[in-house]
Structure formats: C-alpha cells, structure tokens
Amino acid sequence: VDMGGDVSEAGERPQWDNKAQYMLTCVGFCVGLGNVWRFPYLCQSHGGGAFMIPFLILLVLEGIPLLHLEFAIGQRLRKGSIGVWRSINPYLVGVGIASMLVSFLVGMYYNTIIAWVMWYFFNSFQDPLPWSQCPINENRTGFVSECERSSPVDYFWYRKTLNTTPVIEDSGGLQWWIVLCLFCAWTLLWVCCLRGIETTGKAVYVTSTLPYLVLTIFLIRGLTLKGSVSGIKFLFTPDLLNPTTWLDAGAQVFYSFSLAFGGLISFSSYNSVHNNCEQDAVIISVINGLTSIYAAIVIYSIIGFRATERFDDCLSGNILTLLNTFDLPEGNITESNYEGFLQHLNSTAPQTLQELQLKTCDMQTFLSQGVEGTGLAFIVFTEAITKMPFSPLWSVLFFIMLFCLGLSTMFGSVEGVVVPLQDLNILPKHWPKEAYTGLVCFVSFGLAIIFAQGSGEYWLALFDGFAGSIPLLIIAFCEMMAVSYIYGIDRFNDDIKFMIGHKPNFFWQATWRLVSPLIVLLIFLFYFITTISKELTYIAWDPQSENFPALETKSYPDWIYAIIFILSGVPALVIPAVALFRLIRKSCSAREEKHTGGDSISHQTQIPDELDRTRSLH
C-alpha cells in the first residue's frame, strides 16, 4: 500500500543512491588509520607470516560472522543501534546506548588525530619542509638544544605540533594552532555528514578510493628507493610463534572491522530489505584484510628506505670520525672495509677506539624504531619523506591519504551517535538532521578541546587505550548473545532466509552461537586481566629526563583511575543499568495503572510478532 511517504517525514528512512555508495561507506568505515599504522606494526613485531596466518584465520572465524550479524539485524529491523536492540528486547536498549557512548568517545579523539593530520597537511606546502631541519637558536651559532639532542622530526612533532608537557598533570594551556585545526576538522566533518548518508554517500566516492590510489603511488615510489626491499623482507621474516600472537591478531581483526559502534547496523538499515548482506559481509571483510596487507607492504618499503638511509648516515658519520682522528685520506675507509678497519683498530689501539665513542649502526634497530601509531605517521614516515626528492609532494599525498582514511571512519562514528540520538527521542522530533549532526559535532569539538592542551597527547592515548577497547568487546559479546539466544537463532535464520532467499549454513550457525562469542570473550578476559594486574603507565616526552630522547615511562596519578573508570566502565555498565532501570519502571507502572495503549513497552515488543503474522499473509 502506497502511503505517499515522500510527503511525511516520520516514516521515511533514507536510502542509498546505489550499492556502490553503501559498499564504499562500509569499506571506508572499516578501513581506517589502524590498517596503516597498527596492522603493519603487529605484522612485523610478531614476524610477518607468523602473524598473517592467525590474522586470516580469525578474520574468517570472528570478523566475517560478526559483520554479517550486524548487517543482517540492521537490514531486517531497519533501525539504528538503539532501535534495533529495542526491537529485539526493550531491556537491551542499554547495548545501543553503550554503542552510542563508545562511538561518541572514540569519535572525539579520532577526529583529533585527523586534526593533527591536517596540521601536517597545512605545513606540507613549503620547501624545505619544516620538519626537515632543526630551527636555529637565538645567536645563530647552532640549533635549538632540544632538537639537536633528538631529531628535527621529533622536535616538530613534540614541540611545534603538540608542545607537550613532561607529565599529564601539567596541562600546558591550549595550543591555539591545534584548536584551529580541530575546528577545521569538525566543521569539515559536519559538511560531509550534514544530511546523513545523503551527503556522506557522495563524499565516500573520494574518501574511500583516494587512499588506495595514494598507497599505489607510494608503492611504486617506495620500490624505486634504495633499501625498500629490505623493509619488506623484514616485514615477512617469521618470528617465534607465541600465544599473544593469536590474541593480538584477534584484537586487530575485531577493532579493524569497527564492530559494536552501531554505525554498521545503521548503514545496512538503509538498504533494501532483500539486499544480499551475506555476500556484502564476505566482500567487505576480504577487502579490509587485503587492504591491511597491501598497506603493510607499502609502509614497510618506505620504512626499509628510511632505515637504510639512517644506517648509511650512521656509517658515514663513523667513517668521518675515523678519518678525522687518524688523518687518513678520504676514501681509505669505505662501507666495505669498515668492519675490517675497526677490527684492525681494535687490536692495535683499543683505547683510542673507545674514546672515539662510535655509534652502533644496526639495521635491525633502525627497522624496528617507532613504527606504530602516531609515531609511525608523524615521526618515522615524515622523516622518510624528507629524504625523498620532491618532499612536499609526497608529504601532501601522504597526509591526504591519512585524512581520507580517518574521515571515512568518522562518518561511521557520527552515524553511530546521531541515529541513536534520534531514536532516543530526547531532543525535539521536528529538528532536522542538520541540527542533530551539527549538535553532535559542536559538542564533540567542545569536549575535544582537552586534546588541544599541552598534555593532549597523553589524554588521547588514555582515551585510545580505555574508551575504545574493553567496552567494544563487551558490546560485541552482548550483541552476539542477544541475537543468538534472546532474539533466537531460529528466528534470525528465518529473517535471513526472508531477506536473501536461503537459510544461513552451518558455518554461520556455529560461529554466531559458539566460536565468535568465545573468541571475543577470550580477548576480553585477556585484556581485562592484563589491565587490572599491572600498574598503568604512559610514555612521555621529557627533555629533562636522563634517557632523552627516548620516551620515558611514567605512572598515572591517582585521579586518572577515576577517568579510566568513566571511560571503560560507564559504557559497559550502562547495559545492565538500563535493563535494571526498565525492570524497575515496568514493575512500578504495572502496579500503578492498567495501561491501554500508546507507546508503552509492550506494544514495541509485539512488533516482530506482527511482522511474523503479516509475513505469513504474503
């Protein structure tokens, strides 16, 4: 029956213009900064092949089933995360609220990283790049001491960008340039998310495809540089297999798929009900996995180049010192006879050798330096770029890629906050989508100012470690339990049969009911136990410390534990809290009055049954 739905706004749900938009949005949400700076590091630290195998196995056993689950419930129940869990069982609304909270907290700090990326992007339009050389001190006799002791890239990141304080308690005041970049990042996000998928659906044509183009350009550039192959070899050299490899692989699969944020449920709810979500889940999982591997190869080819440059510089420095000390003609000592010469020197004049204090030049050390997270992007990679010809061009390309990767993930994050907010009905219903997205962006920007302080990076690491880890695992576990056992796996199978035409086979049954929840539970227990058991520390940049320029490990002050509890505990505890609240409210209202209709809880629980009944009439 046609209701003339284009006039009324209440019942109309946005729809994708075409399948490509949907796929690109989901791929963009899943493929993010983690694929570029977390996976390559894990791959290398656990030893290439030794990591890939657990990763691929867990991709199949954990990633694909969870993805299929979220797609299916979104597509069938056609609501955002709160609406979906309310439809399954009103006591589970807490799961949706927890998803919303986590999306909000993660979105807050994730966009700050994008703001940092933008700062570097803005600074890439000059030659020479500002992080290629140390600034000169006042009397023009040498370089600024902090920079001299560390390196130009370190100095630019820790001093010029973050202006870090030595400890987290020291706020350091707001860094105005970061506030500007934050403002830019949030307004740009708002422009793209302004009308929900109407606008993001157009934006993803660029933000989801550009990273692949840039990765390919960097691959070609990387392979033509000296030393790149040694980096790729290092990536795949197997290391000893240890049990944490499986846990790290499982965690990486889980976080890489942006599960439990609610964004994926939302996106698939805009699909036509007979869309083949099973196929989509498999395709997107495969794309995500392959992108990780591709990015790892590109990253490590560039890292190999940088390590080789560093090694050559180190060696040349040592050779120069030797030539100067012994007044030998240039060319007497080369890279090839360096070792031999050192040995000769060791036997004839060991004292002089010690006094010289030659630096140890070890390729392995250079290859394994600072290669994950912000350290990779803003220190290691930027240094590698300064050694390439036409550095500003490569810098611009690299930071555009990071920006697109981050922004497309933010779309999912905003979706995971805005749609549940609309479903919660706490704000006036007549507010347009623009107001919702604007409000979310504005509030997030306001709160994200804490990351613009001098100590901002420590706060961000805190958020990253606690808001985006444990709660997600709990939510995902609850999701699977809810669908398999509360909604009922049989009903779910029937829904899927209705949508795509055939019942999900044994693989899906086994993974949804047993395998995937078990994996998620194991990862959760592991993380929980390791977090509880050890003292929580953070790494700080402290020019006054003895080990400078190495980062120093410091322990958190006591009041941070309260913050950690809020970040991790509140989203997790919301799930039972809301269920309890509803229980109390229901028992109170049942005692007080006999209800007649309207929008009480019981009517909403009847919806799936009504759909069943109407389906049978089809």
Partner: protein, 220 residues
C-alpha cells in the same frame, strides 16, 4: 761566515714553521673534497694551497680593512693526507707577531661564504675546527604558509555549509508548497489493519516494508 749566511737564509722559514707549529693562535682546517664533489673532485696540491692562503689573506684584508695583508702572512703546517692542516696569520707589520685567534675567527666567519665558494665546498666539507659556522638566517614568512592553506580549506568548508543549508531550506519550502497542493488528495488514504499497527505511528500510518515493491537487491 758561510754558516751565518746559511742560517740567515733558512731562519725565516724555520722560524715560520715554529710560529705555526707551536702557536695557540692557529686553526686546524679540514677539507672533505671527495665527499663534496664525488667524481668531480679536484686534487689537493700546492696550487690549491696557494689559493687557500690567498683567500685567507683576502678575508683578513676585508675584516681589518688593511690592504697590507699578503699571502706570505699566512703560514701553513701539519699537512696531512686527510687534507687537513694548521694555519696561522702573521701581522703584516711584524712577521714575528701573530694575529690573535679571535680576529682570525671573526674574519673567517664573516667571509666563510666566499671561502667556501672558492673551493666549491660547504660549511660541512670545509671545516675550521673551533669556528662554528654561521648558520643561514631562517626564512621568515610574512604569513605562515600553513595559515594560508588553513584559510583556503576553511573558506571552502564555509561555502559548502552555506550552500547545503540553503539547499535544504529551499527543498523544505518547495515540499511545503507541494504538500499544500496535495493536502486535498490525502483525505482518502486507506488505513492499515486497525488492530495490528494502530498503536504505532498515529495518523499517517506506517510504511510496511514487507509488502514493498523494492527490487530484490539494492541496485548498483
């Protein structure tokens, strides 16, 4: 007699050598020609040394504004294969008196650029041990380049926001006009099964997807 004459002939260079070797006012110089020029490297020989001495004399002339400095005032010793040596500067008025270190340092610092260029070298490859190079002045921009790019991006974003908001407003206005025109037709809408879904959406009813005419798969 002969001994006396010989002594007189050989004394100045000997004295000169002593002036150079023992003095505190000398500077060690190191050249790394092969590092700087690679295959185009020239060989270090007497003529190059002559050029060096003359450039230093030039530097002293410029700094003291005395045209009396000559190549004989620059004494060199401790020549090594590294291509490093020590030099001292004697005063043009008195060959036994050395110019103090500070003055030579100033002269060299002020004219380092010219000395470097004479040898096609740089501050790294032509070292005066003890004289720190005067680093090039940092480039000072009127407006930082990053602010310019920031301004461009923010401007584009602002334009985007305004354009999209205006298009939303005009869309709403058009929809309202259309609704006003269609409102008479809406009266005869069939209501859904009164029992099942009446509790839900109220007067407008609910679009029942089960009976939708949607295509089987979301179209590409």
């Amino acid at each position: 007699m002969l001994a006396g004459v010989l002594l007189l002939i050989f004394l100045p260079p000997l004295v000169a050598k002593d002036l150079c070797k023992d003095s505190q006012d000398g500077f060690k110089v190191r050249l790394s020609i092969k590092t700087a020029l690679g295959d185009d490297a020239y060989e270090w020989n007497e003529s190059e040394m002559f050029l060096f001495r003359s450039t230093l004399a030039y530097a002293m002339r410029k700094q003291t504004k005395q045209d009396t400095y000559n190549i004989t005032n620059i004494l060199v010793c401790n020549d090594t294969q590294r291509v490093s040596f020590v030099f001292v500067v004697t005063s043009p008025d008195d060959p036994d008196q050395l110019i103090p270190k500070e003055q030579i340092e100033q002269a060299v610092r002020q004219n380092k650029h010219r000395i470097n260029n004479a040898f096609l070298l740089s501050d790294m490859t032509l070292e005066f041990v003890g004289i720190p190079p005067t680093l090039a002045a940092p480039i000072i921009y009127d407006t930082e380049p990053w602010l310019i790019v920031f301004g461009v991006v923010i401007g584009a974003v602002a334009v985007g926001i305004v354009a999209l908001l205006m298009s939303t407003v005009s869309k709403k206005r058009r929809a309202k006009e259309k609704a006003a025109g269609l409102s008479e037709e809406d009266e005869g809408i069939v209501k859904e099964n009164g029992t099942a879904l009446s509790g839900l959406g109220g007067k407008e009813g609910v679009y029942n997807q089960t009976f939708s005419n949607d295509n089987r798969f979301t179209e590409l």
